[in-house]
């Protein structure tokens, strides 16, 4: 009961906070303290966002970004999970690849954008390549960690039941590591959005939310369109995370360590 009450209090306060800040923004914009062209009132930004949702041109860009993210995430998972399982279970393989991983990882994905443009032009392939380059790491590391962290007693028990190595892998190790792997996919999802939009902003060609924003800003469009598009991009990220979290709750009901309260 107390928990519910506290949660309700938080909800109400949160809504009040949103309302207050929205009101402040609206006032600041309308009062003319900041030039009206630069910071349009919140109401007009929101109404523009609504208009964008039914604009076919924007929807085309939006789906292009989502498509790149989806394909990139799928490929990243298909590459990173097996690699992670291999590296997580085999100490030698892990040590051999450590230096390579430690060197590749700090390279900012944005630095690779020119390479991607060279190899793939400016369309979907480039974005998918970049997304894979960035999204593989969280999935890989989480898989390695998850596989590494499997309780040895479980594996030994399975072995004492006569399971061969492959069966232990699929029946014991993978299910035990899957919450971690899923966590990595969640992080990769957020990264994929950022990388997709980054690539679109640099090339400002093809389709995508980023190219939409660049197009509008470079052809002297109204600023509220740009703000609205940025907000929609944020909503996309939030929606992706929400979907993945609900999936996590559904898939991992059996797990006592459910990451329900993590941000």
């Amino acid at each position: 009961m107390r928990l519910q009450q506290r949660q309700r209090e938080r909800l109400i306060r949160g809504l009040i906070g949103i309302a207050l800040i929205s009101a402040v923004m609206e006032l600041v914009a309308r009062s003319g303290m900041v030039s009206g062209a630069y910071l349009p009132p919140l109401s007009s930004i929101l109404s523009t966002a609504g208009a964008l949702f039914v604009d076919p041109v924007f929807l085309e860009d939006l789906t292009a970004t989502i498509l790149a993210m989806g394909v990139g995430l799928v490929i990243s998972t298909l590459v990173a999970v097996p690699a992670g399982i291999l590296l997580g279970s085999n100490e030698t393989a892990f040590r051999l690849t450590r230096s390579l991983v430690e060197f590749l990882r700090p390279i900012p994905t944005s630095a690779i954008i020119p390479v991607a443009i060279l190899l793939f032009g400016q369309q979907l392939g480039m974005k998918v390549f970049l997304i894979c380059f960035a999204a593989i790491w969280p999935i890989l590391f989480n898989t390695i960690y998850g596989v590494h962290d499997v309780d040895p007693t479980m594996k030994d028990t399975a072995r004492s039941f006569g399971y061969r190595r492959l069966r232990i892998l699929t029946r014991v190790v993978l299910p035990a590591a899957s919450p971690y792997i899923y966590g990595g996919i969640r992080i990769a999802g957020a990264i994929s959005l950022i990388v997709a939009v980054s690539a679109e902003i640099i090339t400002a060609a093809g389709k995508g939310i980023g190219t939409f924003i660049m197009r509008v800003s470079q052809t002297g469009g109204e600023y509220q369109v740009i703000y609205a598009a940025a907000i929609i991009a944020g909503l996309l990220g939030w929606l992706l995370n929400w979907v993945l979290v609900r999936g996590e709750i559904k898939l991992f009901r059996w797990n006592p360590n459910l990451a329900g309260g993590s941000r």
């Binding site: 450590r98 700090p106 390279i107 941000r263």
Partner: protein, 280 residues
């Protein structure tokens, strides 16, 4: 029934310890060196314009960044003054400001749960907006100067630190704070000497994430709108088809990222040394 947690691993006797270290060193870096060599061989065989041999890339790196300049007053290599220092400067200022503001705000918000309740939805929303989508907005407001890039870095890097600081402060045991209060520590002293150190592990975790974000945003902002800097030089090299310079820049950037992360971990280990010992 005892659980075997760590199966004993056969290791060479202690007197061979130095050799073991050397052996580890070789496995760690040997693979990297091996890959460099493989690249060199493949690049020379394929002769693709896009993938010049490593030796040429290293040569470009050496010429641009390690050869003293004839024109510069301090004999600094050309590229260091034009690309490296502006980039690192913006990064340092942006990151520093972001961490400073985030920790300050985070401590205040963390200590006042009601304030956090009010602000939480808005913070979560702002954090969800992908930084690249905001770059054009900053571009409009601030043009292509340094302030745009620095503020962009601040905007992007502030969230992980802020949220982690709030979390870290919130989970400081109330007993700790009240004990300090009973001992007569003023509010400021409590904050600096009790709460901050207790929250430090979480804060450092946020700082590590923020560092990676800051580097990415720095490079991004330099690619979109700049006239100098590492990101700019990489993109410019690609557009003018100077592949060796492009790859040289990428490798340099990776190295810098690696070194900065290393530096942060060293600082973290130093600062949190007491924490490890007391909670281990």
């Amino acid at each position: 029934m005892t659980t075997i947690v760590n199966k004993p691993v056969a290791q060479s006797p202690a007197r061979f310890a130095p050799m073991r270290h050397v052996g580890n060193f070789f496995t760690n870096w040997g693979v990297l060196a091996g890959l460099v060599i493989v690249w060199e061989i493949i690049a020379r065989v394929i002769e693709s314009v896009y993938f010049p041999p490593m030796s040429q890339i290293f040569q470009a790196l050496f010429e641009n960044y390690l050869t003293p300049s004839a024109t510069n007053v301090l004999f600094m290599p050309d590229a260091v003054g034009e690309q490296l220092i502006p980039s690192l400067g913006r990064l340092a200022i942006g990151y520093g400001v972001a961490v400073g503001i985030a920790v300050l705000l985070g401590v205040f918000i963390g200590l006042a749960p009601k304030v956090e309740d009010y602000l939480d939805p808005v913070l979560q929303f702002l954090r969800a907006i992908p930084p690249p989508a905001v770059i054009p907005i900053f571009l409009i407001f601030l043009g292509i100067g340094d302030s745009m890039k620095i503020l962009m870095i601040v905007f992007a890097a502030i969230w992980p630190v802020l949220i982690n600081t709030i979390d870290g402060v919130r989970q400081v045991p109330q007993q700790l704070i009240e004990t300090a209060h009973v001992y007569g520590a003023s509010g400021r002293r409590r904050a600096v000497e009790v709460i901050l150190p207790a929250a430090a592990p979480r804060i450092f975790a946020g700082m590590r994430i923020a560092l990676s974000i800051a580097i990415v945003v720095m490079v991004l902002s330099e690619m979109v709108a700049a006239t100098n800097g590492l990101g700019y030089s990489i993109l410019f090299a690609q557009r003018t088809f100077r592949m060796t310079d492009m790859w040289a820049g990428i490798i340099l950037l990776g190295t810098i990222g690696y070194l900065l992360n290393l530096a942060l971990s060293l600082v973290e280990n130093r600062v949190l040394a007491w924490h490890r010992n007391s909670k281990a």
